[in-house]
Symmetry: C2
Subunit: 339 residues, 2 copies
DNA sequence: CTGAAAGCGCTTACAG
DNA sequence: CTGAAAGCGCTTACAG
């Protein structure tokens, strides 16, 4: 392996100058800089990251813990996220070390990774309300960025879509179309995003003087199906549904079909689309109106924000609240005339 | 962060002695060793891996490239392999850095990772015959271990099941049951394991003076189905099938059912089972006779072997050829009486 | 049994 | 614009 010293000897320069030249310091003369670059290339120089890391006090590695399903099966599109995150970190000279969480204690895998003493920080995902992992990392003073935020008053770095606005935008659209009986089929409330969606939903409904209906359970087709079926059979059935995901929307669609109702004539549907599920919004008939915020879009900002945090940027400047797009398609229409 | 120096000052010892004590060197007196250990614990000492790595010349990181499917979907059970491998490396103070191969050049991702100059070695999987990645790493002198071996005369570290024996064992079992017309529904021959299975099959059949029938394609249900259907309709239909996987076996079962044949009365089936597929051998009716070698069992030895290689152990001592189990269940029986 | 010293390959004040 | 020096935190011959 060729080192700075080798290059220095070749050119009769000190390692200090070679180092500065290679790092593009302006005080080094252009001629020297060019000569050094050239020689470095010729000699196949690659900086020793470990040495760089020792002197800078950073390891150049960040950790992420993957929560996996009990059957140890992989999440759809997991690899795309992994790829994008790896790439985004890689251009920042940072490596990603993965761990898998299979136990009951959500904090344990983080402790294990910290124990190893080689990580500069963490990327967390899927935060829950009062997430113990966040409390733990903060208490230990370990830098991290969260994909999502555990509470509206988060004082740490995060990248998140505005989930209250997700609900509010959908409600506003439906109300403008004349809907008054609107139901939210939401995710489990221990997930922070679902709590935000519910808050946004209730607030928006109240603003319009309407009474909210909501159910919060697992984001799966059957949740949409069973709850929509029950709601449609009730006294004042919803004329519109907000669905936590396209999977949930698929269940709602099935329920409306079972009841002999038509979309959007009898029932309107809006879903949130993270562009991650195998169930594609445009493949519905009619295609789904959605609030859309691709999960994959988070990778680049997450890497950027984490590096900012590691660089000492204050937390309030490392927070990104993104608006989801509202894409109107065929699944929403005017409210049916009242009987 | 507390360092060796801190501990040394606390105890009025040199960093050298503290280092030796903590690393359990026998020349340090027991009393000193205990005192140092105690103080280190009390002060919350964690060795700085980066410094250790600089001085030992190793980064403590190894790479693995995942070849993913075009739809970027995850392989079944991928997380279990990832977990086990991470755990096996972790106890050896080694971290795993993943990259994803999405391109056409199989070597490119390795070049990119080497470029970064922080890896001690690689774990390769799914070797192909004349695998260019192996040629590349060897030419560059980069340590690696292969899960599988690209050729029977491999001169590098590998962990692999004896795929020739997999076929031979199955053939021997079937011949003992009186079968003479035996077909192999094999994986694509560019995969080294499939080439070995075919060789083993032909050799074993020749040894018994029988004529081999084989087809080598993708390891999917439809391959088993279409080929078995065609073979069963031919002049001398097989009375037994060797299947590359449980998926392939499912196809063969479907084909025999279509032909109105019974298992094992009319047709016997042996499959190879890596205990990785969602299609479980014991769930068949009748349950499948298999050669069994769980993929997950490779994780621990792979980690061990790679660390051996990094430690300078010669390649011939870093090769493991494992016999798969032969588990006889209901899908094999005596050959039908000849008509 | 323990210590002083050199060194791993880099970066970065401090001088000049 | 360039160099000599110190230092990041560890390990390990070399002495004693």
């Amino acid at each position: 392996m060729t080192t700075l010293k080798d290059i220095g000897e070749e050119l009769s320069l000190s390692v200090a100058t070679v180092s500065r030249a290679l790092n593009g310091f302006p005080e080094v003369s252009l001629r020297t800089r060019q000569k050094v670059r050239e020689t470095a290339d010729r000699m196949g120089y690659r900086p020793n990251r470990v040495a760089q890391r020792l002197v800078t006090g950073r390891s150049g590695m960040v950790g992420m813990v993957l929560k996996i399903k009990p059957d140890m099966t992989a999440d759809e599109m997991f690899f795309e996220i992994l790829t994008r995150l790896t790439a985004a970190l890689s251009v920042r000279e940072t490596d990603l070390v993965l761990a898998v969480d299979q136990g009951t204690d959500p904090v344990a895998p983080y402790e294990r990774m910290i124990e190893r003493n080689i990580l500069d920080g963490f990327i967390l995902n899927a935060p829950q309300t009062n997430d113990p992992r966040i409390a733990f990392l903060r208490q230990r003073g370990i830098p991290f960025v969260v994909h999502g935020r555990a509470a509206p008053d988060a004082d740490y770095a995060f990248y998140e879509i505005d989930n209250q606005a997700v609900s509010a935008d959908a409600v506003d659209l439906l109300v403008a179309l004349g809907h008054k009986s609107i139901a939210l089929i939401n995710g489990t409330l221990r997930h922070a995003y679902a709590a935000d969606r519910l808050t946004g939903f209730k607030t928006a409904m109240a603003r319009h003087g309407l009474r909210p209906q909501a159910t919060s359970e697992a984001v799966i087709e059957s949740h949409g199906y069973t709850k929509a079926l029950a709601m449609l059979a009730a006294g004042t059935p919803p004329t519109a549904f907000l669905c936590a995901s396209t999977q949930v929307a698929a269940g709602v669609v099935r329920a409306t079909a079972d009841r002999g109702l038509r979309i959007p004539r009898d029932v309107s549907i809006v879903a949130h689309d993270d562009a991650h599920s195998q169930v594609r919004a445009v493949d519905f008939d009619p295609p789904l109106t959605v609030t859309r915020a691709p999960l994959r879009d988070a990778c680049e900002p997450l890497a950027e924000l984490l590096l900012d945090v590691l660089g000492g940027k204050p937390a309030p400047e490392c927070q990104r609240l993104i608006k989801a797009e509202l894409i109107v398609r065929g699944s929403t229409g005017p409210a049916p005339k009242e009987a």
